[in-house]
Symmetry: C2
Subunit: 324 residues, 2 copies
C-alpha cells in the first residue's frame, strides 16, 4: 500500500480543529463515535466542480469553507447546534496536495468558528473536484427544533441579514474584470455565514417555521409554504437587499430585484413567527445580524413577492438538476 | 422552479423503506431528525463512476446496493447497529430517471434488510454518476463498540465468511465473456453482505479489535496492527478463500492466493479475540456465516501473510488515490 494516501489524509486532518472529549473515536477507525444527547439532527450537502463552482474563480479554500457552511446553515434552519462534521472529497487526477490542504483549511476555518469537530471522511478518486459534507447537530439547551411545517396564518415573515449578495457575487466572479475582487458581494458568495445564533434565538422566541435561503427567496418561501400548508406574501419594498446587489444584477431596478430575489446561496434564514415576538429576537441577536419583516402568512398556498402596486413579481427558484 | 427535481426526489424516496416512529423529521426539511440513545456511530463512504465502478458491468441497482452495504459494513466493524442513512447522488447529464430509481431500489433493498431508514440526502448535478452515503448507527444493547485499537499479543485472529470473491468477481465483470454472470463471485462483488450480526456477536464475546475488509486482507490487517501497536501473522493455508476465487485470479495457485489476499471489497470482518472465545461466537452466528481462525497477534508491528514454508507472501493493499 502506498503511504501517500495515508500521509495526505494525516496532513488533511492536522488542518482541522482537534476533537474534544465528547469525541470517543475520531478519524482513522472504521467509523467515528461521539457522545450525543437527545435527537440527532443531520444534514448532507454536496458541491461538484463545474456544477456548483468553477475554478479558479473559487479557490480550494473557498470551496471547503462554503461546503461546510452550507451544511451548517441547514442545521441553523432547524435551530440545532452543530456538533460534528464528516467530509468526503473527490480528488481529480493530478490535483496538487496543496489544493487539498487549502480545502481543509477552508473547512477548518468554519469548523473552528462553529466549534465543530470534523471526525470522519474519505478521499476518493473523481473526474472533478467534489465535496460532500455531513453535518450532525443536537438540540440546544432550552431551544426547540423548528421545521418548515408549522407556519400559521397571521404569522409575520422575517429574514435575517441581507439578500441577493451571493447571486451578485457570482455574477462578479464570472465577469472579465472585477472592480472589487475582495468586496462584500463576492465575499457573500464565497464565504457565507450560517445563522446559527439567529436560528436559535428565533426558535426560543417562538418561530413556527424556518428555512435557510439556498435556492432563492421565493423558491425557499414556497418550500416552507408547501410544508406548512399556508400562503406567504412578501413585499419587495421590504426585502433587505445587500447594498450593490440589485445594481450588479441589472441596470434595470425591477429586473435587478427579480434576479436578487431569484438567486440562492445567501444562507440567510426565512422564519415565520407571531409579530409580537420579533422585537425579542432583535434584542437577542443585536450585533449578530439584522432581522427584517418582509411579509405575512395567510391561508392558501404558494409564495409570492409583491411589487409596490400589489402585483406578483415573476421570480424563479433554482433547479439543482436543470442542466441534466 | 421546475417541478422535475422535486417529483424525481419524491419518486426516489418512495422506493425506500418508510421511516419508523424514531424518525422525528424525515426527508424534505432542512435536516433530518431522529431519536437516538447513547453515542452516535458514523461512517461515510463514496463511490464514483470510472473509479469505483464501471457501467454497464455495474447496474444502477448494484451501485446503490453496494454503496449502502459498504457504509453499513463500517458500522458492523464497530459492532454498532445501523439506524439511519443519508444519500447524496451525483447525476450526470442525460441520466434516465429509471436508472436513479433503480439505484434507489438497490439502496432500499439493503436498507430493508438492515432495518435502516434513509431519511435525508440530495440529488446534485455531476459529470459522472457518484454516490456518497452516510450511515449512522448506535450501540446495540449489551454490546460494546469495538475499535481497531485494542488487539493484544496472544489474541487469535479470525475472519468471517470467505475471502477473495470480490476481487475474482471484478475480474469476471471485466472479462470479454462471462461463464457465469450470476455466479457467487460476481454476486460477492456486486452485492456484499455487511456482517452486522457477526460483528455484534464478536463484540459480546470479547473481541479486542475489529476492521472490515475493504482494502484487502493484509492491508486491513496492517491498519488494525498499526492502530493496536501489535504484529499480526496470518497463515495463507488457513484463509477461507471463496471457492473459485483463487483459480479465477490466476492459473498459478500461489499468484492466485496473493491476488485474493490483496483484493479488497469482500466486506468480511477481521477480528482479534482470546482464542477461548471463538467457539462461543461460532455458536451465536451459526447459519449466518463461518468464523475461521487465520492467525495470531504478536508483539511487534505490521501484518504478514505466511506461506506454508513460513515465508511472507508479497501481498499489497489498495491505494484509493493510486490513479491520482
Amino acid at each position: 500500500m502506498s503511504t501517500g494516501e495515508f500521509e495526505l489524509i494525516a496532513k488533511f486532518i492536522e488542518r482541522l480543529p482537534a476533537p474534544g472529549p465528547e469525541v470517543l473515536v475520531a478519524s482513522g477507525d472504521d467509523a467515528a463515535v461521539a457522545d450525543h444527547d437527545g435527537p440527532v439532527v443531520v444534514s448532507v450537502d454536496a458541491a461538484v466542480e463545474g456544477v456548483h463552482f468553477e475554478r479558479p474563480a473559487f479557490s480550494a479554500e473557498a470551496i471547503g469553507r462554503k461546503a461546510l457552511a452550507s451544511a451548517v446553515s441547514d442545521l441553523a434552519a432547524m435551530a440545532a447546534t452543530p456538533r460534528h462534521g464528516y467530509v468526503v472529497v473527490g480528488v481529480p487526477p493530478g490535483e496538487p496536495d496543496s489544493n487539498l490542504l487549502a480545502l481543509a483549511d477552508g473547512i477548518g476555518s468554519v469548523a473552528t468558528t462553529e466549534q465543530m469537530a470534523i471526525i470522519g471522511g474519505d478521499l476518493v478518486g473523481s473526474p472533478v473536484l467534489m465535496i460532500s459534507v455531513t453535518a450532525i447537530g443536537a438540540e440546544a439547551d432550552g431551544t426547540p427544533l423548528v421545521t418548515r411545517a408549522g407556519a400559521q396564518p397571521g404569522d409575520a415573515v422575517v429574514v435575517t441579514g441581507e439578500i441577493g449578495g451571493a447571486a451578485a457575487g457570482l455574477r462578479l466572479l464570472g465577469a472579465e474584470t472585477r472592480a472589487d475582487p475582495d468586496g462584500p458581494l463576492i465575499a457573500r458568495q464565497l464565504s457565507p455565514t450560517p445563522r446559527v445564533v439567529a436560528g436559535q434565538a428565533l426558535a426560543r422566541a417562538g418561530a413556527t417555521a424556518m428555512i435557510d435561503l439556498s435556492d432563492g427567496l421565493v423558491a425557499d418561501a414556497s418550500h416552507l409554504a408547501r410544508a406548512s400548508g399556508v400562503r406567504i406574501e412578501m413585499e419587495v419594498e421590504s426585502v433587505p437587499f445587500q447594498p450593490g446587489a440589485v445594481e450588479t444584477l441589472s441596470s434595470d431596478p425591477r429586473e435587478g430585484r427579480i434576479s436578487a430575489a431569484s438567486g440562492g446561496e445567501d444562507y440567510e434564514l426565512l422564519a415565520c413567527l407571531p409579530e409580537d415576538r420579533i422585537s425579542a429576537v432583535r434584542t437577542e441577536i443585536e450585533g449578530e445580524c439584522e432581522l427584517t419583516r418582509i411579509g405575512s402568512v395567510l391561508e392558501g398556498d404558494g409564495a409570492v413577492l409583491l411589487d409596490d402596486s400589489g402585483g406578483s413579481l415573476p421570480v424563479d427558484g433554482f433547479d439543482h438538476l436543470a442542466d441534466r
